[in-house]
């Protein structure tokens, strides 16, 4: 069955509804446009992963080396304690 206006509110609010529709379309356009601009602006696509708010040490320059160094230090400390 075809959808048809059954109430006077449909004609009374026609302009308002079209206005809201256009605003929503504009919002979609803005979000889409921003996404395109932001993604194309990335020098390294892996940077995109940082936007999921999850800590990724492997993405931080030097973080992996720092973590390995820290682990080595901890291991050395525990070995020294064990030998005592």
């Amino acid at each position: 069955m075809a959808i048809r206006a059954e109430h006077e509110i449909h004609s009374r609010r026609k302009g308002r509804n079209y206005g809201v529709g256009l605003l929503l379309l504009g919002f979609i356009g803005i979000v889409f446009g921003l996404t395109v601009v932001k993604v194309l602006g990335l020098t390294d696509i892996r940077q995109l992963e940082r936007f999921d708010h999850v800590a990724r040490p492997q993405l931080e320059p030097g973080a992996l080396e720092a973590a390995e160094q820290r682990a080595a230090e901890l291991e050395a400390t525990s070995n020294a304690e064990a030998s005592e």
Partner: protein, 313 residues
């Protein structure tokens, strides 16, 4: 009584009524000055991001306008100038205006943050808070200096535009803020001297009514002098230049002459020529602000083509 109530209930708010809530005329100034702040900044911005940023600043300004109309609905219904606004006319319900104001505020701040940076979004949030809470709810009805402090809200847009591009606040953006901040009082007080307002009936203290017209004339000159200093100081920053200074000399002599003339006049002089000097100075004040910000834009254009280097600037 019943008829009036029924009429109010059946009146349907259209998009134009909601748009009017956002004070479109104020938004024009906001958009223009924010655009200048963005364009004159030394860091380039992607055009689409720049467009979204200006849109967010405009929507934020409009949202604070809606919150202002929600809060001031009682006095808007008393004053002739504001009685046809959407809430007092019955087109929009106060609750709707509050909801629109809060929603658009959040929308503008969050989107500006996502599109640009936290500083720009923070400044926009503070501007909305300043206009809606500090000015509308607190100062407007409690002090005749309401225009002075409330003017800060209108002065933030170029600073936000600058922050969008650079992610920082600098002497240039502070001086652009200062230019609008110092300009607002003489601009509005010149208007208050020749427009018969009913602010008094609404319980809003205006300087002309609380301290008299002579004090208002003194205040206009007192704010005009530091305004001139700020305007010239801007010319010696990285966004100024010979063209800006040339325009500034003309506009400041023009406006200062008007402010001195207002200061010298008595109310009898003013009544005799139907406030001709006050009217003229008010018009000049509009050209003044538009002219300075346009000159900054032209300077940025000249710089981009390397045309200011010949002057050794």
């Amino acid at each position: 009584m019943t008829d009036v109530t029924n009429q109010t209930q059946t009146q349907e708010a259209q998009m134009g009524d909601y748009f009017a809530l956002m004070k479109p005329r104020v938004m024009q100034l906001v958009v223009f000055t924010a655009l200048v702040g963005l364009v004159v900044a030394p860091v380039g911005v992607n055009p689409f991001v720049g467009f979204v940023a200006i849109l967010c600043i405009a929507v934020g300004a409009g949202a604070s306008g809606a919150l202002n109309m929600w809060w001031d609905a009682d006095i808007d219904a008393i004053m002739k100038r504001t009685v046809n606004r959407p809430i007092p006319s019955g087109a929009v319900q106060p609750g709707e205006a509050l909801a629109i104001g809060l929603t658009l505020s959040a929308f503008a701040v969050v989107l500006l943050f996502l599109a640009t940076n936290a500083l720009a979004a923070g400044l926009l949030a503070f501007t909305i808070f300043f206009y809606a809470v500090v000015y509308s709810m607190w100062l407007k009805r409690s002090t005749p200096q309401n225009i002075v402090i409330g003017g800060a809200a209108g002065a933030f847009p170029p600073m936000i535009g600058w922050a969008v591009a650079t992610g920082s606040v600098s002497i240039e953006s502070i001086l652009m803020f200062g230019l609008i901040f110092m300009w607002t009082p003489p601009h509005f007080w010149a208007l208050a001297l020749f427009v018969k307002s009913d602010y008094g009936d609404a319980g809003v203290p205006m300087l002309t009514e609380t301290h008299g017209r002579k004090v208002t004339r003194n205040h206009i000159l007192a704010y005009c002098v530091p305004l001139v200093l700020v305007a010239f100081a801007l010319g010696f920053t990285s966004i100024g230049g010979p063209f800006y200074l040339l325009v500034a000399v003309v506009l400041n002599v023009w406006f200062l002459t008007g402010c001195v003339a207002i200061w010298k006049r008595t109310d009898e002089d003013s009544e005799a020529d139907k406030h001709a000097v006050e009217r003229r100075t008010f018009i000049v004040s509009i050209y003044y602000l538009f002219g300075h910000f346009s000159a900054l834009m032209v300077e940025a254009l000249l710089r981009s083509y390397g045309l200011t280097s010949w002057a050794g600037w």
